[in-house]
Amino acid sequence: MTSEQLAWKIRRHGVEMTHLSGGSHIGAVMSVADIIGVLYADILKFDVNNPKSDNRDRFILSKGHAGAAIYAALAECGFFDTEELKTHYRNGSRLSGHVSHHVPGVDFSTGSLGHGLSAAAGMALAAKQDGKSHKSYVVLGDGECNEGSVWEAALFAVHFGLDNLVCIVDHNKMQSLDFCDKTLSTTPLKGIWESFGWNVVDINGNDHEQLRNALSGIKANNKPTVIIANTVKGKGIPYMENDILWHYRFPHDGWEYDQAVSELHKTKPEGVTDPYTPDGIQNPEMPDEKEIHLDNTMSATYKPTWFRKEQQQ
């Protein structure tokens, strides 16, 4: 499967999984789908028949709330049946909302932000000590970079020369309630990582060619590498793009689901079959234009009097 096909499948599964479960974080699944697609199709070394094989690359999705994307990728790669994806969030399922290591192919459970980079650094350090050649990959959110532990790990990885550690920041510029810059700004993200001493590669994180180039050109120069993957939250479903509503809201029955599927079908790559709605949606419901593209950010209505006006802008 090509990375483009896998990324499309991740998006399609993501819509179905959140739709069926009422689960959150579809916006994050959409923004990270291309990163995960390229990683699993072209970059990561793994063996589906031996998920714990010692020479596999290690992978941690530190922004564990986008777990649906990992589950979809693992199922598409053959770690378990894609049918199981429908059990996401369900009673008795293995597929918790945040990533669980009880699922085949998952190296590390996450869900609390700011843990993954440290754990991946520990794995990379152990590999260095034991003379092993695999790499540790970790995907962080940009909102996650609010966590102080991320920067403890950033110092650590540079200090110990972990050039077998690759961090990808899914830089979709939004977090839970608002844009990152209106929450706890980490701009300029690239400059901050550079100042910590990392190799920094700044790319369009929804562009597979750029992702492939960045991920296959990791320098072995005694420094860890961070790829700032500039993405769009909700990417692939225009009505969700850059709308904070879709951090938590799931596509409901009616126009939300119909349009999500219909939009995805417009960009469906050759050779991919939609496992849920193979022919798309016939006569999809349409949204009321007044219902979409609203500003749902906190700063749209939150105006504290003590905060200087110029800071609010």
Partner: protein, 305 residues
Amino acid sequence: MRDTFFKTLTELADENKNIEVVTGDLGFGVLKPFWEAHPDQMINAGIAEQNLTSVAAGMALEGKTVFTYSIGNFPTLRCLEQIRNDCAYHNANVKVICVGGGFVYGSLGMSHHATEDIAVMRSLPNVTVLCPGDLVEAEAVTRAIAKYPGTCYVRLGRGGEKRIHESLPDFRIGKAIPVSEGEKVAIFSTGAIFEEVEIAQETLKENGITPTVYTFPTVKPIDKEVITKIAATHELIVTCEEHNLSGGFGSAVAEVLAELPSHARLLRIGMNDEYSTLVGDQKYLRDQYGMSGEKIAQRILLEVK
């Protein structure tokens, strides 16, 4: 106790090249012999306990036996979620080592007094909690946890603790150790507070009371067998810990007692659900907060009158 721990660990690291020590920039002097003997098995992760603990989890999942090291509350409370999610939940082979249980760093103030650590660590599934009471227990604990696969918490005293046991060839995680046999009153002690229990024991003897004494180097899993046996044969069980009464060792004993149909009365000695605000050394603070040998004896005498 701290020196014994590292001396033992240095020996163990000779044989087991998978042993790693990750320190949070603490252990001046005490760690030197270890890092000189095993430079490839020692990492100073800097003053960053959250990262340190997750790094340890990552290394452990790659097959290492990782000892994280710091003092007071830094290796536990500062990085509690990292211990919970990354170490314990993954059953990672991480041994969290704290030097300075209770009032070891007395004069340094409340920030350095570990007085809730047992309770907090005891509440985490998959975490074994150990508080050695003397050098012999410290060595036995170190050897036992190095072989035990899984997350452990070890609370050490700093040094100078009196020897309790001659040797412990049969040491087992989860087993209390008999120190002396008596009647009616039994004292259960965990960690370095034992030296105060020993003083209390003398005063009690002068007053005609010969207590049965056990040390509990393991707080979790607690030795239910010994508690059940003593609860049936004694009138009063006294627990001693240099720790808050809420959720600690005494609570662990109380949980076992409460589920028995009938049992000895329980008297718990420890911090009375408060923070230390006084300035002074370990001995002084123990006395001020009712845990010195004399205060322990007085409290027991009051109870048996």
